[in-house]
Amino acid sequence: MTMEPLILPPVPGLSGIDVYEAHGGYGMLRKAVTMKPEEVTDEVKKSGLRGRGGACFPTGLKWTFMPKQTDKQKYLCVNGDESEPGTFKDRQIFELNPHLLIEGAVIAAYAMGVGTIYLYIRGEYKRWIAMVEKAVDEAYARGYCGENILGSGFSTSFTVHRGAGAYICGEESSLMNSIEGERGYPRVKPPFPAQFGLWGCPTTINNVETIANVPVILRLGWEAYSKIGHPKHPGPILVGVSGHVNSPGVFELPTGVLLTDIIYKLAGGVPGNKKIKAVIPGGSSTMILRGEALEGVTMDAEGLKAAGSSVGTAGLIVMDEDTDLVRVLTRIAGFYHHESCGQCTPCREGTGWMHKILKRFEIGEATRADLDLLLEVANNIEGNTICALGDAAAWPVQSMIKRFPEEFERRVKPGAAPGPPGGGALGATGGGRTAHSALASFPA
């Protein structure tokens, strides 16, 4: 079930460059610069690595979207915004193995002919930013970043860019706007970043954990790497377990491990031996699963898709039998309402509606019609917005209503008349990042 850790090996002092080098660190960068850039991309492609930032996109394929012949600067943004509720894995890399991340980023830059790397880290992680900056200084001092790296003629800079508190800045186009010093509004796609990214130049965005896998692939070779875990979603994966478990934490596992093994064997089971009512498998935006439906479900893109959810960021949130799921969902809805950037009407208005309706369920003031309204609002957001935050807000609501109808039934006000959907009691939404107009403008 477990494996020899490759991303977070338990080597004392590994975050320092001397220990990292003593364990073979930067050897794969040395190797990469003797290869052709296309050969490096090819290794990553054949390894089967898929992005660990939430969407599972094949990494090598993404790299091939970058134009080879261009007069423009090319950029790599490493995404360390890590703000999806339930997710706390990239922080482990910053703390325990920052040089693996730096080495991976420079190799990726070499493969794509990128001359500038920005690592975007959420503003709250000040302590971890300092750790990474120290490692970057060390890497520069030994010639692993900067001009003419290891005498290869290849040069790339590495800059840590600190965010300032905004979940939306983890969305790749918003992240680029934030680096440009704009407000973090997502951009309409197409054009895609590989054509028109930072300052209109070709740009690739990859998650921190994705990039940390790159030296591992070169070290093992694509073939051995592709045999770790699930064949369609191979490699080590950092699984964060939180909520009602005895030993929460981040576990490095091969993909494809049973959720029940993760919860009971690694995370120590549920306090008081209570039953599991529900789990959110991959961060707050992934669809909730019933506790009884966990048997046989595995932590990988395919296994979770078959179970009616997704792997997301592999941030597994466990909820015991006594959990008030309406309260959980209300909190999640409040989060998306707060974090909506306000550009698209369905997301801006809809997240406010959902939060407001759920609050009525929470205090037992909701009618049966409110449940239909809630679902309708969620359905109106899904697929109708500029970025995926809208979908991320809709999925938890849709899946909760579908899989836990009894939780809502129980909360309907006794004897309440169904009432017209969107009846006057809702009022204006308020909150969020921008001024929210009155709810009345939303088609009920």
Binding site: E82, E182, R183, G184, F335
Partner: protein, 154 residues
């Protein structure tokens, strides 16, 4: 006015980007670290240093939740109340702080020592409940731990 050291750092950072505007977040961080919050004066200075319009800087400050555009207490306490923390009783932590400091969420104590707010997920879900005070993370909290932490902060 920003310190000499910050001004120097801003000049160095400008070299990392093809134009000066991307340094706006870093410059605002420096201003906030030196002054506790970002006043109109701070936005004007940052705009001048980077050669960008004042209203742009204002727009940036208002977009990002970590920038304080009004004064806050010497210690800003941010308790995460998102799901993983909620499941591990973050509401008890909030209530305890409210009662022991006699302060509401979103308020500052009359002596200007603490401001209490609720935060979205801070990436410490495995060590919940947790709070951030200033730049520091405090994890695996209970009431006694909170008391010990707050009593150290003057």
């Amino acid at each position: 006015m920003l310190s000499e050291q910050s001004l120097k750092k801003i000049e160095e950072l400008k070299k990392r980007y093809p134009r000066p505007q991307p340094v706006v977040l870093a410059a605002l961080w420096m201003w906030q670290e030196e002054n506790g919050w970002i006043s109109r004066e701070g936005m004007v200075e940052v705009a001048g240093l980077l050669g960008i319009p004042e209203h742009h800087v204002y727009g940036v400050v208002s977009f990002y939740t970590m920038f304080n555009s009004t004064p806050v207490g010497r210690h800003k306490i941010e308790v995460c109340t998102n799901v993983s923390c909620m499941l591990r009783n973050s509401d008890r932590i909030v209530k305890h702080i409210q009662e022991s400091l006699n302060v509401g969420v979103g308020e500052t104590t009359p002596d200007g020592r603490f401001t209490l707010v609720e935060a979205e997920c801070l990436g410490s879900c495995g060590t919940a409940p947790m709070m951030q005070v200033g730049d520091e993370y405090y994890e695996n909290l209970d009431e006694a731990k909170v008391d010990a932490i707050l009593s150290r902060l003057k």
